[in-house]
């Protein structure tokens, strides 16, 4: 009879970069996943104690409670400006913003565009779930055509409310940006790719190569009014066709990196 080893092998643990608290996020929400990916990357790169995060206004307004680094809390949409102020006076620190679609692509459009235009050496994690979560499900700049929200009850009418704004595509045109990619959090394979992208974004900053951004297609089962599983399906079936995944701009130096 073969003997079974009794030594436990730890295959999964909480990254040091995540605090040991329960989050306020809804069941099925992907914020928890993106938080974890950031924490793992900062741990692996040994950057946690050098990092200053900038939280947005939106569901992730309390990101600073969950991510175990120094953090500041910005006004709605102004995270890239605040990050600019921090990075310019503390270039030795790693500075990143964590922003939702309303924050980044609506009220904060000027700030994100100019941060990229200046080639600001910061990293942006952009959570795109096509809706305003915290205020209860209103239309976002990234809401899909025909998608129902509390402020587009009959579905987003492009005649009246225009079209979803594709931030990664736009930001890739800015000369100051070095790494602009879109990934998704809707299944494990895509999550692994998302983590690699986050790693490359921070690697861009570490190398002083300017603006980096990872757009993460995310879910909001509560405000989409679907189950968590259906929400993941919705990303695959409805969001990816509008917001295609891919690398929109990758500096050759970063493309060479194996992570």
């Amino acid at each position: 009879m073969a003997t079974l080893t009794t030594d436990p092998i730890q295959v999964y643990k909480r990254p040091v970069g995540l605090t040991e608290v329960h989050s306020h996020y809804c069941p099925g929400c992907t914020h928890g996943i993106s938080h974890r990916l950031i924490a793992e990357v900062l741990d692996e790169m040994g950057l946690r104690e050098k990092t200053i995060g900038v939280a947005p206004v939106g569901c992730s307004v309390f990101a600073y409670k969950y991510l175990n680094t120094d953090y500041v809390e910005a006004a709605h949409g102004r995270a890239p400006a605040m990050a600019t102020g921090i990075k310019r006076v503390r270039p030795e620190n790693i500075v990143y913003t964590y922003q939702g679609d309303g924050d980044l692509a609506s009220i904060g459009m000027a700030e994100i565009m100019h941060a990229a235009g200046r080639g600001e050496n910061i990293t942006v994690i952009f959570i795109n779930n096509a809706i305003y979560g915290m205020t209860g499900g209103q239309m976002a700049p990234t809401t899909l055509p025909g998608m129902k929200t509390t402020s587009s009850p009959k579905g987003r009418d492009v005649e009246m409310a225009g079209f979803p704004i594709k931030m990664s595509e736009i930001l890739a045109t800015m000369q100051g940006s070095s790494y602009i990619v879109r990934r998704s959090l809707h299944d494990p394979a895509y999550i692994r790719k998302s983590k690699k992208a986050i790693r490359k974004a921070f690697e861009t900053q570490v190398r002083g190569m300017g603006f980096s951004l990872v757009e993460l297609l995310s879910t909001c089962p509560t405000n989409w009014k679907v189950t968590p599983y259906e929400a993941l399906q919705f990303v695959e079936d409805s969001m990816i066709p509008v917001f295609p995944l891919g690398d929109f701009k990758v500096h050759p130096e970063i493309a060479k990196l194996k992570v």
């Binding site: 946690r48 104690e49 050098k50 990092t51 200053i52 900038v54 939280a55 307004v61 600073y64 409670k65 175990n68 680094t69 120094d70 953090y71 500041v72 809390e73 910005a74 006004a75 102004r78 400006a81 605040m82 990050a83 600019t84 102020g85 921090i86 990075k87 310019r88 006076v89 503390r90 620190n93 790693i94 000027a110 700030e111 565009m113 100019h114 200046r118």
Partner: protein
């Protein structure tokens, strides 16, 4: 040190540099633009941060970030630009981090014009942004004072972890006067213990103006209020001239105050017993001194380049003890000393007796007549 002929905006900017400002973030706007231009060469030359932001909204949020990072930081703008900054200023106040704003005021409301004005008194002194907070407001009246009080502004901002506004009008921003610059201060090597610097070997720090539980926000509001009371106790600054035997007392801040001084000197030569109080801190306001002066004087004349915003505060201090008269010019018009002198003469010849006179209504009639006359 010798005096040099310096332009107000340049002097304000260099004073900020010498006070140890490590991050300047701004957006061009007349009549403060020379401030930004000066910083665009001066800051990089010293290895300090300078960004011409995409808007005043972004500029003040860059200041917010740099302030959270524990560095002395500031912006400079003019009235419409300051309106855009109100959001960020409120957040800075709520987060209790130190920052300095220089407002070179111009005529408004709206786009208004670019001429010197004091029309932002209420916006600056009474808050302006949302929520309960109390920035320190300092109103220099000369290029030298602009230098001295900009230095002080950074010290007070750090001492109380608060916003400090230095407000001048376009006259002071644009004029040249001989002034002496203090020596360059050394930049502290250690960050303050509340600042975000990366959580190396310590627990993370989170800086925020969010207090989602109203009871927590109440405690914060109370803390801000106690800070206010402390500032009121310690930091009042004003200057006074010819007050020993003054029966008529002029009160004006900034440009209106210094122009009044010319009129007061001439009136003194005519033998009129007139004095001047020039408040320098508008918050904390010299209520005590004004109240004291109301015991001594027979009447007050408040002179401003607005519709009588400080007048309201003077009346609070006077408590109806003596008549308070008002003279203001509006919309970017700077009064000449002659106008104030004729007000002094008018009061001297027909001293007001009614402590409840409606200063503003009486002045409106006089100003309307004057405007008609000049057309």
């Amino acid at each position: 040190m010798t005096k040099k002929l310096l332009k107000g905006n340049h002097a304000l900017a260099e004073a900020a540099v010498r006070a140890g400002c490590e991050g300047f973030f701004g957006y061009p706007i007349t009549p403060s633009t020379e401030f930004l231009e000066y910083m665009s060469s001066r800051m990089p030359e010293l290895g300090r941060a300078f960004v011409q932001a995409e808007s005043e909204v972004a500029a003040i949020n860059m200041v917010y970030g740099a302030a959270c990072a524990g560095k002395r930081t500031m912006t400079a703008s003019s009235s419409p630009g300051v309106s855009l900054m109100m959001e960020g200023l409120s957040y800075i106040a709520g987060t209790e981090v130190p920052a300095v704003l220089v407002n070179v005021m111009r005529g408004g409301p709206g786009l208004g014009n670019i001429a010197p004005s004091q029309g932002d008194y209420n916006q600056m002194v009474k808050g302006g942004g949302h929520g309960d907070y109390f920035p320190i407001v300092i109103a220099p009246a000369s290029v030298q004072e602009s230098i001295d009080y900009t230095m002080l502004a950074f010290d007070l901002a750090d001492k109380y972890r608060t916003l400090v506004y230095v407000i001048v009008d376009g006259n002071i921003g644009q004029m040249m006067e001989p002034a002496e610059m203090p020596p360059m201060r050394e930049i502290p090597t250690e960050a303050p213990d509340w600042a975000v610097t990366g959580a190396e070997g310590r627990d993370p720090i989170a800086l925020s103006s969010i207090y989602i539980d109203p009871y927590d926000e109440e405690v914060t509001n109370l803390r801000l209020l106690k800070k206010k009371l402390e500032i009121e106790k310690n930091e009042v600054i004003f200057k006074e001239f010819f007050m020993e035997d003054a029966e008529i007392v002029i009160i004006g801040f900034g440009t209106a105050g210094r122009i009044s001084l010319s009129a007061v000197r001439e009136a003194r030569e005519q033998g009129i017993k007139v004095g001047l109080i020039r408040p320098i801190t508008l918050f904390p306001f010299p209520f005590e001194r004004i109240a004291e002066a109301a015991e001594q004087a027979k009447s007050f004349l408040v002179v401003e380049m607005n519709t009588g915003m400080m007048l309201d505060d003077i009346q609070v201090a006077v408590k109806g003890k003596i008549p308070v008269e008002f003279y203001g010019r509006l919309g970017g018009v700077t009064p000449f000393p002659d106008e104030i002198l004729s007000e002094i003469n008018r009061i001297n010849e027909n001293p007001p007796t009614d402590p409840n006179l409606d200063a503003r209504a009486d002045w409106v009639k006089r100003l309307e007549k004057a405007i008609e006359g000049s057309n």
